[in-house]
Symmetry: C2
Subunit: 371 residues, 2 copies
C-alpha cells in the first residue's frame, strides 16, 4: 500500500502517555471513531500507523506517522485535512516535515519557474537578488508607477506591490498593472537593465486566476499572492497553469499557524517546505530582528528548506523581510549566502537622497557579492 | 469618511508602551511605512485611528481602532488582510470583535438561511436539533448510505458527511451524494419524518461551487464545508449563490488561529462572529470536555455570538462537537439552551443496541425539551 510519512514534534503533559497521544493522532485524522467500532479493513487501510517515536527532550518526542495515499485521492484540500485538520484544535502537536518524494507529482508539483530559471532569465548568477515594495496603500496608480520608475532606475531586481494593494479605488488592479509595467519598461529603456514588476493578485480564488492571466498578458514579470487569504490550493493552481509567471508568496494571515509555540506548523515547514510544494518561487518570511518574531534558527531553517537539493521540487528563493536595513545588508549576506532575495522597504523610502540613490546603494552592495 | 471599528485585546511586555503598540497596528495593517515618509493625506485617509484603550489587566488592554472602509474596497480578502494580515506575525494582539453593522451588506451578507428559516422548514420550533456524521473514511458509498438510512430511521435531524469524505475512490462525491440522499428519502418514506443530509463539499474553491450546485440539484438538504481549507471567502460566495442550501462550517485547520493564547482570533470572534458574517448557517466548534481544548467560557461566547440579536446577519446554529455523549445531552441542554444543534458521533456508533436505537434515544432526549 502506498503511504506517505509526516514528522511531528509531540509534547505530552504529566498525565499523558506518548503512545496514547500518537494513537489519538492516527485515529483523529482519519476514521475519527473508536477502534472498537472500526472494521479491520478500515484499521488496516485508512488509519495512520506510527513509524517511530524518539524522545528528544523532557515530555517531548519526534514522531513519524505514515498515512495511506488513498486517503487523499490526489487532493490538496484533503492533504491539508490529514496534515493538520482536527489536530489543529489539539495542544502539543507541531508539524516538522512531510514525505514530498511520495507526494510529488500526484499531489504537489512545486514552483513553475524556481531559482535556476529566474536567475537565468534575469541574468543574475552569483549574487543575492534585491526586492522592494510599492506602497503605501492610498497612493494612486500614477504615484505607484512613479515609485516603480525610480526603483527601476536604481536597479532593484524585483519590485512588488504591497500586499494591501488589491483593487481599491485608489489604484484599481488593471490601471495599476498597466501603469507599473509601463514605468518599469521605461526605466529599462533608460538604463539598459530592466527591473521586474510583480503585481499583487490576492483575491477570491477564481478572480486570482483571472488576475494572474491578466498580469501575464500585460507584461508583468511575476505576481504577489497571500496564500493564506486567497487559499493555499489557489497558489498551486496558478503554478500549474502553464503560464509560468513566478509567484512571490506573502505570509499575511499565516502567523497563527507558525507562532503557536508547541503546536502549529514549524516556520520551516510552512514557509520553506509546504509553500515550495505549493508552487511558490519566492517565499517571504518575517526576518529575525524586525517587527516580527521568528528566531535566527527558524529563519535559517526556512532558507534551507526552500533551497535544499533533497526535494523533488524546483528551488524557491527565500525572501526575508522586516529587520533588514540598507546598512545591515552585508551582515545578512554573510549569514544567509547568495541564494536569497532581500526585501527592503522602509529603509529605501527613508533614504535622505531619495529612492533611486537608495536603490543604487542597495544594488551595489549585492553586486560586490559577485554576479 | 466611512470607517469600521475592530476591537483587540492587546498585551504588552515590560519594555513596551501600549500607545506605541497601537500606533504599530495602525501603520502595519495599512501604509506599512514610517510616518515620516507618509503624506498627510495618507495619514488622514488610510492609516487606522485609535478610538479607545482601556486597561483591563496587568499589561493587558482592550483597544478599539477604526479603519477606513475604502481600504477594503468591498473585498473580503482585503478585509482579512486589514483584520489580521501582518499582525498575525506579531505577539500580543488578539481580535475580539468587529463592526458588522458597517460591514453589512457591502462586504458581508451572512447566512442565506439562518436558524429561523431552518426551524420553519424542518418544523422544529422549540428544541435543540440533533446531528451526526457519516464515517469512517474508507467506507463505501453504500456503507455510508446504510448508516444514513439507520440514523434517519432513528430520527436524527441533520446527518452530515465526515469532513474527511471528499472525492476519494472509496466513496466518490457524486456516487455518495446520490446514495445518501436516496437513503434518507427511503427512511423518510418509512417513518413519515425525513432527516436532512449534508454532504461534504470541501475542495478547491471553484470545485466547491460545482459541488454545492450538484448537492442542490441532487436533493441534498445542505452542505458541510471546511472554510479554512476551501477558503474563507469561498463560504461567502456559496451563501450568496441564490441557492440557499444551508452551510455547516467545520473548524478543520482553524485551530492555529483560535488557540494561540494572547494572539490570534478569539474563538467567539472566529466561530461565532466571522463565520456567521461569512454565511455559515451552522458553526461547528470543539466543545469543552472533548478531545479538544476550548473553555466553557469560550463555548458560551461562541453560542452567544452566533445567535445574538445584536447583529445585522441571520442567526447561525452553534454546533458543539466533541465532548458530548448520549448520557450528557440533558446537561448540555441545561447549559446551552434550545438554540443549539448537538453533534454526536462516537457515542451513537458505540451504542450496544445499534445506531437506530441510539438515534431514537438521542432524539427523545431533545423532544423532552419541547417541540
Amino acid at each position: 500500500m502506498n503511504t506517505f510519512d509526516i514528522t511531528y514534534r509531540v509534547s505530552v503533559q504529566d498525565d499523558e502517555q506518548i503512545d496514547e497521544k500518537i494513537e489519538g493522532i492516527c485515529i483523529e485524522q482519519t476514521a475519527e471513531l473508536p477502534r472498537g467500532v472500526l472494521s479491520s479493513e478500515v484499521q488496516e487501510k485508512v488509519v495512520g500507523k506510527p513509524v517511530s517515536s524518539d524522545q528528544i527532550g523532557e515530555h517531548l518526542y519526534e514522531v513519524v506517522i505514515t498515512w495511506p495515499l488513498a486517503n487523499i485521492g490526489n487532493d490538496i484540500s484533503q492533504f491539508l485535512n490529514i496534515l493538520y485538520g482536527n489536530i489543529s484544535l489539539q495542544p502539543g502537536i507541531r508539524i516538522i516535515s512531510a514525505d514530498w518524494e511520495v507526494l510529488c507529482p500526484d499531489v504537489f508539483e512545486g514552483p513553475a519557474a524556481g531559482i535556476k530559471n529566474i536567475r537565468q532569465q534575469y541574468n543574475i548568477q552569483q549574487r543575492p537578488l534585491s526586492a522592494t515594495a510599492l506602497k503605501p496603500l492610498g497612493s494612486s496608480s500614477d504615484e505607484l508607477a512613479e515609485l516603480a520608475y525610480y526603483f527601476s532606475k536604481g536597479g532593484i531586481d524585483v519590485i512588488k506591490d504591497d500586499h494591501g494593494l488589491a483593487d481599491q479605488e485608489f489604484a484599481p488592479f488593471e490601471e495599476r498593472l498597466e501603469a507599473c509595467v509601463s514605468a518599469v519598461d521605461r526605466a529599462g529603456d533608460d538604463t539598459g537593465n530592466r527591473s521586474h514588476y510583480y503585481p499583487n493578485i490576492t483575491a477570491f480564488a477564481s478572480e486570482t486566476v483571472d488576475r494572474y492571466k491578466r498580469a501575464a498578458e500585460q507584461g508583468a514579470d511575476g505576481v504577489l499572492l497571500c496564500p493564506h487569504i486567497a487559499g493555499l490550493e489557489t497558489m498551486h493552481r496558478l503554478a500549474q497553469l502553464d503560464i509560468g509567471l513566478p509567484i512571490i508568496a506573502h505570509p499575511a494571515f499565516s502567523g497563527g499557524l507558525t507562532t503557536n509555540g508547541d503546536r502549529g506548523l514549524s516556520p520551516d515547514f510552512l514557509y520553506g517546505q509546504l509553500w515550495r510544494a505549493l508552487g511558490a518561487d519566492f517565499v517571504i518570511y518575517p526576518n529575525k530582528g524586525g517587527r516580527f518574531s521568528l528566531s535566527a534558527e527558524d529563519c535559517q531553517g526556512i532558507n534551507k528548506a526552500a533551497t535544499q537539493n533533497h526535494s523533488p521540487f524546483k528551488k524557491a528563493f527565500p525572501m526575508p523581510a522586516g529587520g533588514i536595513k540598507l546598512d545591515s545588508v552585508e551582515q545578512w549576506m554573510n549569514d544567509y549566502g547568495k541564494n536569497i532575495t532581500f526585501l527592503i522597504g522602509g529603509s529605501l523610502y527613508e533614504h535622505p537622497d531619495g529612492i533611486e540613490a537608495a536603490s543604487k546603494e542597495f544594488q551595489n552592495k549585492l553586486r560586490q557579492a559577485g554576479g
